[in-house]
Structures are given as C-alpha cells and as structure tokens.
C-alpha cells in the first residue's frame, strides 16, 4: 500500500510537468487549430536557460535558495516566451491562411532546428543541471502513522506547488482578463471573434508566449527533479504532453491538466509494477482505448459536423 502511494506521489510530480507542457499544446490548438510540434523543444530551451543562468544567479545571490530558484524560473519563462513569440512570427504567421498540414511540417522543421541547433550549441552529451535549491527528503511527522514511510522530496513538493500556482495564474489570465477573453472567443468561433474586433496579430503571439512560458517553467521544474538534461529531452516529454492534451480533449485547459496528471500517474505505476520498457506502449494503448469510447478526449465535447 505504501509502495502504491509512493508511486502516486512520484507520478503526480511528473504529471504536473506534463500538464504544464500540455497546456501550451492545447492553448495553441485552441487559437490556431494546429499541433505545435516544436513545443516540446521549447521545454528543452527552458531547461538549458536554467542550466546557463542558474550558476550565475546562484553566485550573485549567495548559493542555492528559494529566491534563486524562483528568479531562474521567471527568467526561463521569459526566455521561452520570447522564443515562442519569435517562432510564431517567423515560421507560423506567414502561413496562417494555409492548410494546417503545411504549418505542421513547418513546426516539424522548427523542432528539428531546435534539436539539432541545441546539439550544436549545448553539446550532445547530457549535462548536469545546477542545484537551485538544496534537495532533501522531507520528514513526515510520526503522527501520520504508516504514511511516515513515504519518501517525499522537497523538489516534488516544489514542483507540485509551483504547478498549482501557475495553473491558478493561468486560470486568472484566461478567465478574467481581456486578452484571455479574446483567446476564448478565438477558440470558440474564429470568424465571429475577428468580426467583433479580436486582433489576431496580438492574441496569437500572446498565446504562444503564454504557452511557451509554461513550457519553460516545466523545463526548470523537470530539471530540479531530474538534473540530467540534454538537447533531445524535449522529444519524449513533448510527445507525452501531447498525448496528455489529446487525452483530456485538445483545446480544453482543464482537460490538459487532467490528462497530464493521468499520464504521469500511469507511467509511474507501469514503471513501478511492470517494467520501464512497457511504459510507452501502455500509455499509448490507454490513450487509444479511451479515444475509442470518447473520440474527443475525456473532457472534450464532440462537435457535430455541419454540412
């Protein structure tokens, strides 16, 4: 039982990271209706921003601390937001009127560019992510009975706390601000939104920036948990997050979070009880199984086709 709970804790911490990346997929899908395959590599950029800035910030502010970690997190989010906006401006905006498949290929091109460029600039070998906080196992009060046998690390708590904080912030932006309203309008009905004065050239870059910032945060959080980073780390994480977004119903924000957590939990359980080699087949098998019964994802609404 304790082992099961332990897997749940590990899975949830991983799931939070998937959820953050999946939100970027799902937001971009909402406004542009295309899969931004380069998104996973923005996550990698976030991790490497932390890799290079981490030691600098840490030295300037006297060693690892919460403040250092928070500052690096914000810087990485900023860097990724800029990267996201630049990618949109250069590679996707000229193709806005084209079929989505064309944009998809461009996105694959951008993904390849970031991966290969990353291998050139950052080196091919895995790097060790610097300590932003001093990680340790938390002591669980003896009063909790058998739960005291659980190992919960500080980094896991931080990952979950920051993920929750970002989700609340995102919810505020999407539901309570004007630009959030524009994003929702664009996702609901692009033509009507434009007719009522939604400026595509402002809302779409904003969406890319927001999604990329979340991916950047995920990059830092993932590296705090697992300090080995390499330029190809975005491929697998991006793929899983994409699966999470589809599982929850692509275009649906709570769905992306739910999907991310489910994928994280599922992975942890498969790795814990079966074998790591079965992880990917089982994750995809569950996805296909669920899509057979809910073709628009768990929280997505099936749209009736109009003639």
């Amino acid at each position: 039982m304790i082992e099961f709970l332990q897997q749940l804790v590990n899975g949830l911490a991983q799931g939070g990271i998937y959820a953050l990346i999946a939100l970027g997929y799902t937001m971009v899908y909402g406004v542009l209706r295309f899969i931004n395959f380069a998104h996973g590599d923005v996550f990698m950029l976030g991790a490497f921003t932390g890799f290079y800035l981490g030691p600098l910030v840490s030295r300037a502010f006297g060693g690892p601390s919460y403040f250092v970690a928070a500052l690096v997190l914000l810087l990485a989010m900023l860097a990724c937001a800029v990267a996201g906006v630049v990618i949109e401006r250069l590679c996707y905006r000229p193709l806005r009127e084209q079929p989505r498949l064309v944009v998809l290929i461009t996105a694959i091109g951008v993904a390849l560019l970031l991966e290969n460029g990353g291998q050139l600039v950052f080196g091919v070998d895995p790097q060790f992510f610097p300590d932003l906080i001093v990680d340790r196992a938390l002591e669980i009060p003896a009063g909790w009975g058998p739960l005291a046998a659980l190992t919960i690390t500080l980094s896991q708590v931080i990952v979950l706390a920051v993920t929750l904080l970002l989700l609340v912030a995102l919810r505020y932006v999407v539901n309570r601000t004007r630009v959030g309203l524009a994003m929702r309008a664009l996702a609901f009905n692009p033509t009507a939104a434009q007719l009522s004065g939604v400026n595509l050239d402002r809302v779409i870059p904003f969406t890319f920036g927001l999604g990329s910032a979340l991916a950047g945060a995920a990059g830092i959080l993932a590296s705090i948990q697992q300090p080995s980073i390499d330029p190809l780390m975005g491929i697998s994480a991006g793929l899983k997050a994409f699966v999470a977004a589809v599982l929850g119903g692509i275009g649906n924000l709570p769905g992306a979070v739910l999907g991310g957590c489910l994928i994280g939990l599922l992975e942890a359980l498969v790795v814990g009880y079966l074998s790591p080699t079965y992880r990917d087949p089982i994750v995809f098998g569950v996805l296909i199984f669920i899509l057979l019964f809910r073709p628009a994802g768990l929280l997505g609404r099936a749209q009736r086709e109009k003639v």
Binding site: I35, I105, I250, F284
Partner: protein, 321 residues
C-alpha cells in the same frame, strides 16, 4: 493515362532497371547505398501518399507498418532453414510477401479506429500504434528485443529495390484511377458529400490504410534485407515524420511530386555532406554546411514558407484540409 499504358510504362521501367543493374554495380558502396535508400523511401512515401494524400486521412505511424514488414520478413528468412541456390531468392520473395501481408493486417487494425476519429485525433492514434508496435518489438525476445535483429542475407539490390518502387507506384496509381478508386479522392474532397452519394467512406479509409500498410511492409522487408540489421529505434516517431515530410513537401496527392521529394530528401543530407568537403569553400560557409541537419531543417522551413502547396503540386493547390 489509361491502365494499359501505365502497365506498359511499368514493364518498360522494369526492363530499364534490368538493363541498368550491371551499370549500377560499378558504383561505390556508398552511392549504391544511397540509391537503394531512395527506392525504399519512394515506396514509403508513395504508400503514405495513398493514406494522407489521396484519401485525406492523417497517418503519423507509417514507420510502424514498416517495422512489422521488416521484422516479419527478417524472422522468416532467418528461421526458414538453409536455402539452396535459387530457393534463397524464392524464400526472400515469400518472406517479403508475408511481411507485407502482416503489415496490411496491422494496417487494417489501425484503420478501424479511423471509423470514429478524424484529424488530429486520428493522427495521435496512428502515432500511438507506431509507438505500441515499437514497444512490442522492444519487449519481444525472439525479435532481439532492445538489441535489434541481425544476420539476414543481403537480398535487396538495385533491381529489387526499384522494382518494388515501380510496383508500388503502379498499383497505387491504378487503384486511385480505377472506378472504385475515385472513392478515395471523394473521401478526401468532402466526406459528407461522398457519403451522400452512397460511397462507404469508412471502407475507403480502411482500404487506404491496409494497402498503404502493405507497401510500407514491403519497404520494411527490403530495408531489413539491405541494412542486414534492424533495431526498434529505427522505426520510431521520427521516421514516420520523415515520411510525412516527403509526402507534404512533394505535394499531397501528386504521385510524381511525392516520389521526387522522397528522392530529394534522401539525397539532400548526403549532398550537403559532399558540399562540406569541397576544397574551394570558404571556412565560414563550410562550417554552416557541416552542420547539415541544421541546414536541412532550415531548408525545410524555408521551402514550406516559399511553396506551401508542396514543391510539385499543381492539382490540390487551394484545397483546405
């Protein structure tokens, strides 16, 4: 082109290939390798073109079918006893056919979910099947699991490779241009209208998946008996992407364009390697070209920005997907 004349072209192409085979033997191993890889990629791109181009479905899992064909045929040639003389070739052909059929059966299984799913959901499910096939192979001891499978004999050559490509193009061309095959295009153009005039679009989708998978399996079988070593990682998501890029860059639904794009994209990285070794190149430029994968991805982006309808597409110029 009427069916008779396309069959004539096929026969002429085979004769030309047979005539060229002794000439090609003069080429170095390196160039021979590129040539056969072109043939295999043409088969892959042409067969995916049936699914993604003509029928308008979006498959991201073509490498999975290729893996089924490669492993099934390799397993057969490895386990079917010692060949004697000509029976070796016969065994190879039987293995190729069996591998292709196995891939077609898997294609049928993947085609079924397409009854309910469309667009991006279908894409992720095909991608999922690709990963599942890869995962199953990674865990299958008789297929070498994570170590890969080797020890096949080299049966695939210039004639088999390009003969397979010509056969693929002939079958898919004739299929799409037959009375029955018009349904593929109708499914692509407007599914609801196609249903309304009484076409069973579901059946066309499943047919496209099975036939496409059959030829992907053929490509896999040829690949396995050319590289002589196959590894599950070679049939992952990235290879599926490569094939999709060939199809879209060539112009979906344009057979000539897709085949040319397959050849070009195979040659391009090698060409860049060659250019990087030119003597007179300034060092700065050489440094750019040496990182050929970066240049490749930049070229891909620029090509799509410059010609979004595909390099050679003159038909589906303005269709929305």
């Amino acid at each position: 082109m009427s069916r008779l004349s396309s069959q004539l072209v096929f026969v002429v192409a085979l004769l030309a290939l047979a005539a060229l085979t002794p000439v090609v033997k003069l080429a170095s191993d390196y160039h021979f390798d590129i040539l056969v890889t072109i043939a295999i990629n043409v088969i892959l791109a042409a067969s995916l073109n049936l699914i993604n181009g003509y029928t308008g479905q979006f498959s991201l899992g073509h490498a999975g079918f290729m893996a089924v064909g490669a492993y099934a045929s390799a397993w057969i040639t490895l386990h079917a006893g010692e060949p004697a003389g000509a029976s070796g070739v016969l065994r190879f052909i039987v293995a190729l056919l069996a591998g292709s059929l196995a891939a077609a059966v898997v294609g049928l299984a993947v085609g079924i979910p397409s009854l309910r799913l469309r667009g991006d959901y279908l894409a992720i499910v095909t991608l999922g099947f690709n990963e599942i096939i890869k995962g199953v192979i990674q865990n299958a001891e008789p297929l070498g699991a994570q170590r890969g499978l080797g020890g096949m004999e080299k049966y695939t050559g210039f004639f088999t490779g390009f003969g397979g490509a010509a056969l693929t193009i002939l079958v898919i061309h004739n299929l799409v241009h037959s009375t029955y095959g018009r349904g593929f295009l109708a499914t692509h153009d407007d599914e609801i209208a196609a249903e309304a005039v009484g076409l069973d679009t579901t059946r066309y989708k499943v047919a496209a998946f099975s036939v496409g998978a059959f030829f992907a399996g053929l490509a896999g079988g040829l690949y396995a008996h050319f590289k002589l070593f196959i590894h599950p990682e070679a049939f992952g998501f990235m290879r599926s992407m490569d094939i999709v890029v060939m199809v879209i860059l060539g112009g979906m639904g344009s057979m000539v364009g897709v085949c040319v794009a397959a050849a070009l994209l195979t040659i391009l990285p090698e060409l860049l390697r060659y250019v990087a070794h030119l003597e007179f190149l300034p060092d700065a430029l050489r440094h750019v070209v040496e990182n050929r994968m970066i240049l490749y991805s930049v070229l891909l982006i620029v090509l799509m920005l410059a010609r979004p309808q595909g390099l050679f597409n003159f038909r589906f110029g303005k269709t929305k997907t």
